[in-house]
């Protein structure tokens, strides 16, 4: 699968797609970006007069780029893989948050595979802002269920 094939095949859509671009991807890791658009509805409530991107969405962005895109790359290397009917589930997260992300900030997520066994992918993820500051880091795991190896 090419980088754009992976993005097209992601099982997400607006308003819950948090991947704009995959910059690098191989069997060991992935680097991708996302711009948190200022008109996103959650900024109206988080917080009332001080829009800041919720930590759960930073985690989600790390998971979509770092675990789901990487998992599709890894599964795409196996025979008979089809993204059609693929199901995914986040199984664990352990994150630390160091800097806030304001509306209209572009973030870069880099993820390193810890292991991919029995359709469970565990990754070490990091998110940086455009100034190079470390926004959050942690470990996320997800399970993949596909038609090819259900």
């Amino acid at each position: 699968m090419t980088k754009s094939d992976i993005i097209d095949a992601l099982p997400y859509d607006e308003p819950f797609l948090f991947v704009d671009e995959i910059q690098e991807i191989n069997a060991d890791g992935v680097v991708g970006t996302y711009l948190f658009k200022e008109d996103a509805t959650f900024y109206k409530g988080h917080f009332k007069d001080l829009p800041v991107t919720p930590g759960v969405l930073l985690t989600e962005c790390c998971a979509q780029i770092g675990v789901v895109c990487l998992g599709m790359q890894l599964l795409g290397e196996t025979a008979n893989f089809t993204s059609k009917g693929m199901q995914i589930g986040m199984s664990s997260t352990h994150m630390e948050f160091l800097l806030p992300v304001k509306p209209n900030e572009k973030v870069t997520v880099s993820s390193e595979k810890v292991y991919f066994r029995f359709n469970k992918l565990k990754c070490k993820v990091k998110m940086h802002n455009s100034a190079g500051g470390l926004v959050c880091k942690g470990e996320i795991s997800g399970m993949f269920k596909t038609n090819a190896n259900a």
Binding site: G89, S91, S92, Y115, R117, F118, N119, K120, S141, M143, N149
Partner: protein, 84 residues
């Protein structure tokens, strides 16, 4: 390594992944990992990875499918240790 030692080593691995509402005493040879011990498939993968490290063996996808109960896991460990 005798049967008792293997069983105790396996129980030590399993107990780390038991949900809070399942006690260590609930583990028996016949316990089903998912339906009785309430271990989810993601944690079952972790149990397999810990078993691989503890017994220095390597499991395949087919082994995971066969691993329904504690007894199944012990049989797989035995088979892998024998073929080493």
């Amino acid at each position: 390594m005798n049967k008792e030692t293997k069983y105790n080593k396996l129980k030590d691995i399993i107990k780390v992944y038991l949900p809070e509402d399942v006690s260590v005493d609930a583990i028996t040879q016949d316990s089903n990992f998912i339906s009785e011990l309430n271990i989810n498939s993601a944690n079952l993968v972790d149990i397999i990875l810990d078993v691989e490290d503890e017994f220095d063996i390597m499991l395949e996808n087919a082994d995971m499918d066969k691993m329904q109960t504690v007894k199944d896991a012990l049989a797989i460990i035995d088979a892998k240790l024998e073929s080493k």
